[in-house]
């Protein structure tokens, strides 16, 4: 009888101990947020364009982590979709929207037509437009992500999306090799002498 009692008490104590241990661990080593969201977000192009239907790249990453489709990012194109699919372990699917042409575009404000309404400034998700009320606005080209969000609110249609041109910095080498063939070396000894 007492053996059984001891066993019961012992097991109860053990259960309590482990329960407390687990409870402590759950608090102490709690993981903030979902780590997969960070990985997904790192893949997304961060244009913050909202074409996926979410207000920014992070919300879309969260949505994917919660089971949304991976094919809603036109700026990222097929390459991004494939990376997202492999990370989530789902089948790649064709993009739901027409994938944007791979040519990168940035916004350009025709400054003499700008009336200084600040609407584009409010629309820009990355604060890449500077200007003040009733004063001309302009786009910081280095920070523009080409998300298109400023074009629609402009009351005077003075914003163009211009493709980024090629320059010496972003030119892709497609150089024809200069082949070297062995030729007979004819030393000009008499000349050297």
């Amino acid at each position: 009888m007492s053996t059984m009692l001891i066993a019961v008490i012992l097991l109860t104590l053990l259960a309590l101990f482990f329960g407390v241990l687990l409870g402590f661990a759950a608090l102490k080593f709690k993981v903030e947020g979902n780590p997969i969201v960070d990985e997904l977000e790192a893949i997304l192009p961060q244009t913050q364009c909202g074409q996926c239907g979410y207000p920014g790249c992070r919300p879309y990453a969260e949505a994917i982590a919660n089971g949304d489709k991976v094919n809603k990012c036109p700026p990222g194109g097929t390459a991004t979709m494939e990376k997202l699919a492999s990370l989530m372990g789902v089948e790649p699917e064709p993009l739901n929207a027409e994938a944007q042409s791979q040519v990168k575009k940035i916004a350009y404000i025709r400054e003499d037509e700008c009336i200084g309404c600040t609407k584009c400034i409010q629309a820009c998700p990355v604060d890449a437009i500077i200007g003040a009320g009733k004063l001309m606005h302009t786009v910081l080209t280095a920070d523009c992500t080409g998300c298109d969000l400023c074009v629609e609110p402009c009351p005077v249609d003075c914003i163009d999306m211009i493709p980024v041109g090629q320059n010496l910095k972003n030119w892709n080498w497609r150089l024809n090799a200069i082949p070297v063939t062995l030729i007979q070396e004819t030393p000009h000894e008499e000349k050297r002498g």
């Binding site: 005077v156 080498w173 150089l175 000009h188």
Partner: protein
């Protein structure tokens, strides 16, 4: 155990891995002294050449003297560019660059005047302080002359201690002999430059490295060293065996010291700095004579050059001129290569300038260069790995680069590839390996840039979200505070005042509603005066509906009595009110409306977009300008916006009433007034003449408010049976007035001032955009209704 310094003094050499022994062919150019070429007609000086942020110091039409700076920069990385000869700046425009792509870069074109007159130079001496010397070298625009064109003053002002300076006279690439000839002929000047480098860096040793295929240069340099004022034993000439690519910075360090520069690091980390002999010469010129870097020795060689040799060429000399002067005979598909045969690049065009890093122009015959052999499959022989001086695995890199798995290629240290071309040279399958690496490298660089951009975008996005949040909180706090203050200060008399004010506003609104009725009538009249244009898009229809609605509603609102009374009084209104109400109201409203309509029309039908729309918008502008007083921009914009909104609302309203089965009447009304109303704009715009700005503004605001009211009323009225009766009335009553309106349409127009034009343009643009939006919405609505 000997120390490194002992071994340097003994001239001990280490073996560098890989490398090849291509035919040198230096005999073509190294037998004649360095000579001058006649001046070119034009010099093409790219601005900037090294470093990005700078401002031009000259403008088109300026006369410049030889050596005058063309750019000014603030960044430490920027090197000033100088005029290569005296002459006139004839253009500053994009011209083809001396680059494998020949993409245009901003270039300062200087037409030589033939005098070649120097600007005033300020010679310095060895007595200058180090800082002054470095400033002088920076100001002279000296870049590394070996090819990479790295700003020299940065290498001469390192943050860490420098123990060893290597002067690179190796010149390992075939064909090139510019440094060889420079060392033979200007050894004293080079040594003077080395002395300056010694002063600035105070290294323990200076080693002048020269390949053993240049015996004359070695002799000349050794002699110069023995005569120099440098501390004995600090400087020596070390002869190294001929092998390509011993002249590479990292390879040379390995040969001289046996130490390897870590991947991604610079030699300064090991306490070593490498300078080219040409750079030493240029430093001497800059410090002791004050001459900026405006010319360099360039080897012009190849079997298709009549006079191969080395020439002093001003920076910016067109390659075309050089080739002409050296009796170049072009053959079919002639290649012109900048740099040597191993690392150089073929030029797509020869109208490009000589740059600070250009050491050779190679014009080979087809015999020398041969046809490009066909690329065959890799047989995994491993020859490339044996030849690679950077100890990479070229076949592995090739594999991944070809499959476009650039991240895998990067994991095989692609970035350490110096693109020397040894692997391509030894490849038995004739694979252009370096080409693959270059493509892979640029793809990787692009990916890295994009990544960086995305990071920045994310940071900025998050910062913005945070800012908006903070602003919102601040606003709320402020509002709360203000409300509390108001509550505290408010007394009973204040409250009375508020109620009185409300009553006044209500009274004003009633008056305004009447004005609307009048406006509406005027509009129809305008429509009658002109009817030549063909029927157009939906925007116009929507606008017309809106107008009709407003009219109807106004009647309803105006007359609280029966519908019979409504139109009986209406028929008398046009004449009475046209005079009693201020004419200004009508005019202001009409202008904006007309503009909106016309542009909406255009926007709808034309596909040309902005340009045409702008042109059209100018039309009303010209007419509006007949007014003697300045147009009030703000008032106009406000009026236009209000109207566009009213239209939008009306469009929605129209759909509602469609459902209420009163459509037949509307359709009639529309086709009657709308088709004709296209040209209304012209006459309307001209009516603006007699307005004063304040009146105009007030009237406009009133009109806008009234319209909004009218629309609301219209919504209530739409269902009623009155509508059917009112419609015909309106049309008939409108007709008689047409005579009066067409008179005003013939008002003379006067030339307009630029300010007026701009303001009017802006107003027109706003109105146009609004109208477009309204039309779009109307479209969408009607679609969904169908």
């Amino acid at each position: 155990m000997q120390t490194l310094l002992d071994q340097l003094d003994k001239g001990t050499l280490w073996r560098s891995p890989g490398g090849i022994h291509p035919p040198e062919v230096k005999f073509l150019s190294n037998t004649t002294p360095i000579s001058q070429l006649p001046l070119a007609q034009e010099y093409l000086v790219p601005v900037p050449q090294v470093g990005e942020n700078c401002t031009l110091a000259v403008k088109v039409g300026d006369k410049v003297l030889k050596g005058a700076p063309l750019t000014q920069g603030t960044s430490i990385w920027h090197l000033p560019v100088h005029a290569p000869t005296s002459g006139t700046v004839v253009a500053i425009e994009p011209r083809a660059s001396n680059h494998a792509s020949a993409l245009p870069v901003n270039t300062c074109v200087i037409a030589a005047d033939g005098e070649d007159r120097w600007c005033e130079l300020t010679p310095g001496s060895i007595e200058l302080s180090n800082q002054e010397m470095i400033a002088k070298i920076h100001g002279a625009g000296i870049a590394g002359m070996g090819g990479a064109a790295f700003p020299s003053h940065i290498k001469l002002n390192p943050v860490s201690e420098i123990e060893l300076v290597i002067i690179n006279g190796v010149e390992c690439e075939p064909y090139i002999s510019a440094d060889d000839r420079l060392m033979r002929e200007y050894s004293q000047d080079i040594l003077a430059g080395i002395a300056i480098i010694h002063r600035l860096l105070s290294p323990k040793r200076i080693v002048i490295a020269i390949e053993d295929n240049k015996p004359e240069a070695i002799k000349a340099m050794q002699q110069a060293v023995s005569q120099s004022t440098l501390p004995a034993g600090s400087t020596r000439v070390t002869v190294i065996p001929t092998k390509y690519p011993s002249g590479g910075e990292k390879q040379l360090i390995q040969i001289i010291t046996g130490r390897e520069v870590p991947s991604g690091a610079i030699p300064a980390k090991l306490g070593i700095v490498v300078h080219n002999v040409g750079t030493a010469f240029a430093i001497h010129q800059a410090v002791t004579q004050g001459k900026p870097l405006i010319e360099r020795v360039v080897t012009v060689t190849g079997q298709n050059v009549g006079k191969p040799g080395n020439y002093w060429l001003p920076i910016g000399t067109p390659v075309e001129h050089v080739l002409k002067q050296t009796e170049f005979n072009a053959e079919a598909e002639q290649k012109v290569i900048i740099g040597g045969p191993m690392m150089g690049h073929a030029l797509p065009t020869i109208q490009v300038p000589i740059l600070k890093g250009t050491n050779c122009i190679l014009v080979p015959s087809s015999q020398e260069i041969g046809i490009t052999p066909e690329e065959k499959a890799c047989i995994r022989c491993g020859e490339c790995a044996n030849a690679c001086p950077a100890l990479l695995l070229p076949q592995q890199l090739f594999w991944h680069a070809k499959a476009e798995e650039y991240d895998k290629a990067a994991s095989y240290n692609l970035k350490d590839c110096i693109e020397c071309g040894c692997c391509s040279y030894v490849c038995p399958s004739d694979i252009p390996l370096v080409e693959y690496y270059r493509i892979a490298k640029s793809a990787l660089k692009q990916a890295a840039d994009e990544k960086h951009q995305a990071e920045r975008a994310k940071l900025r996005f998050e910062a913005r979200i945070q800012r908006l949040e903070e602003e919102k909180l601040a606003r709320e706090a402020k509002a709360k505070e203000a409300a509390a203050r108001r509550q505290a200060t408010m007394t009973s008399t204040d409250k009375n005042a508020v109620t009185e004010a409300m009553a006044r506003i209500a009274a004003k609104k009633a008056a305004a509603a009447e004005a609307t009725t009048d406006n509406a009538t005027v509009e129809v009249v305008f429509a009658d005066t002109s009817n030549t244009e063909a029927p157009k898009g939906k925007a116009a229809v929507a606008a017309a509906i809106a107008r009709a609605k407003a009219k109807k509603a106004a009647q309803g609102a105006d007359d609280a009595e029966s519908s019979k009374q409504a139109f009986s009084s209406e028929s008398s209104e046009p004449t009475v009110q046209a005079e009693s109400l201020s004419q200004k109201d009508k005019v202001a409203a009409a202008i904006a409306r007309a503009k909106a309509k016309k542009t909406a029309l255009k926007a709808d039908s034309d596909t040309n977009g902005d340009t045409e729309a702008t042109v059209n918008a100018n039309q009303p502008v010209a007419e509006t300008a007949t007014s003697t007083e300045a147009d009030d921009k703000k008032a106009k914009v406000a009026a236009a916006v209000a109207r566009a909104k009213a239209k939008k609302a009306a469009a929605q309203q129209a759909e509602l009433s469609d459902m209420a089965e009163v459509q037949p009447e509307y359709a009639k009304q529309e086709s009657g007034s709308d088709v004709e109303s296209r040209n209304e704009l012209g006459s309307a715009a001209e009516l603006s003449a007699p307005l004063s700005p304040e009146d105009e503004k007030k009237a406009k605001v009133a009109a806008a408010v009234a319209r909004a009211k009218a629309k609301k009323a219209a919504a209530q009225q739409a269902d009623s049976s009155e509508v059917a009766e009112v419609q015909p009335e309106l049309v008939t009553e409108a007709k008689p007035e047409s005579g009066y309106e067409s008179d005003s349409a013939t008002e003379p127009s006067a030339p307009l001032s630029p300010e007026d034009e701009k303001k009017a343009k802006v107003a027109a643009a706003v109105a146009r955009a609004k109208a477009k939006k309204a039309a779009r919405e109307a479209d969408a609505l009607s679609d969904s209704n169908e």
